[in-house]
């Protein structure tokens, strides 16, 4: 369940763990709703503050840290199963001799993705959001305290697989990279425009499967550009390596 309403997120339900450390235990949440209603009366207090102002403040703090350390942080967002972790594994193997890299992994549960990244040899921290459907700036801030990303490096933040909520939460990243795989529908940008609107770059993954599916790449690009006319694209297959050179060159150019 989503934690947006707050009723399913007990204190400390978010855990931040490095591979090899004791993992998070099961979490149990009480769920009660109260339906009392009162008449409004009393003193008016002016607020005029953005609801996500606190998150945005921490994101600005993260961004400041990244700027001082010359770290390029990229927030990878997509539906579950689009291939984010596989893209990271391949990217890290291709670039690790040239560029220092680190990864923050976000999932509701398990260390599985962190273990895959750990096997590539780069520094990785797993954030388990419990019931949460997205990473927020404070989770990234806490994760940064558990790692030492190098100067002039790339930091990949793999968000929880979800094309909705992560669009609203700034983590302090340089850009959001939205990933869509050709086993999904090419109309995803129209169905989930907020995410494509928030992204700077779009990876179309699993293009090795194009002969077997009905996915229309040109139409997908057109739909995504309707939502966000600034979006750049790379068509890749993290499995075969096809098209990866453009994405890797783009990453090199960011450092």
């Amino acid at each position: 369940m989503c934690d947006s309403c707050g009723c399913s997120r007990p204190e400390n339900s978010v855990t931040i763990t490095r591979p090899g450390e004791a993992g998070p235990g099961p979490d149990v949440a009480d769920h009660h709703h109260s339906h009392q209603s009162y008449q409004a009366h009393g003193r008016v207090v002016e607020v005029r503050e953005a609801v996500l102002g606190k998150n945005d403040g921490i994101a600005a703090h993260n961004r400041d840290f990244f700027r001082k350390q010359r770290i390029v942080a990229l927030n990878l967002v997509s539906s579950p199963g689009s291939g984010k972790t596989t893209i990271l594994e391949r990217t890290i193997r291709e670039l690790r001799s040239d560029i220092p890299m680190a990864v923050i992994e976000g999932d509701q549960q398990t260390m599985l993705d962190a273990e895959r990244i750990d096997a590539t040899g780069v520094d990785v921290v797993q954030v388990n959001t419990g019931a949460g459907c997205h990473l927020d700036a404070d989770m990234v801030h806490q994760a940064l305290h558990r790692m030492e990303p190098a100067e002039n490096s790339l930091l990949f933040i793999e968000n929880v697989g979800n094309l909705v909520c992560p669009a609203m939460f700034d983590l302090g990243e340089a850009a959001k990279v939205v990933i869509i795989s050709v086993t999904e529908g090419e109309d995803k940008p129209l169905k989930y425009p907020a995410m494509f609107d928030a992204a700077g770059l779009c990876l179309i993954n699993k293009i090795d499967l194009l002969p077997h599916v009905d996915f229309d790449v040109a139409r997908c690009r057109e739909y995504a550009l309707r939502v966000n006319h600034r979006l750049e694209f790379f068509e890749i297959s993290a499995r075969t390596g096809e098209g990866m050179s453009g994405w890797l060159a783009w990453l090199r150019s960011q450092i």
């Binding site: 707050g6 109260s34 003193r43 503050e49 939502v227």
Partner: protein, 107 residues
């Protein structure tokens, strides 16, 4: 969650014990479903100074300007097409806001 936290902090700062009403501004392009927000607020406010507070949400219209012809028009989605030239390259000027405007607190 974020609303309840912000509201509780502001109420405490103002010396209020209990919040009876919260006025919110939500842009039509903010991605917020007002019905869901009202439902969740009630649950999230439990055991906080905002418990039982009434949530008043004012919806803000979206506005965008066309990059092609400069026309400014009302937006009701991120997928808007310019009614003048048919272009899709539209800059959002207003409508993504989500803001707590004011509270009413009991001493």
């Amino acid at each position: 969650m974020n609303i309840v936290e912000l509201v509780s902090t502001k109420a405490r700062e103002a010396g209020g014990k209990r919040v009876t009403s919260v006025e919110l501004e939500a842009g039509k392009l903010s991605g917020v479903m007002i019905e869901a927000l009202v439902f969740c607020f009630e649950a999230a406010a439990r055991n906080t100074p905002a418990e039982g507070a009434e949530l008043l949400v004012r919806e803000l219209d979206g506005r965008g300007s066309c990059r092609g012809c400069g026309h400014v028009f009302a937006l009701d989605s991120l997928l808007a097409q310019c009614p003048q030239c048919g272009g899709y390259a539209v800059e959002t000027l207003q409508g993504k806001e989500l803001k707590v405007v004011s509270l009413i607190v009991d001493e």
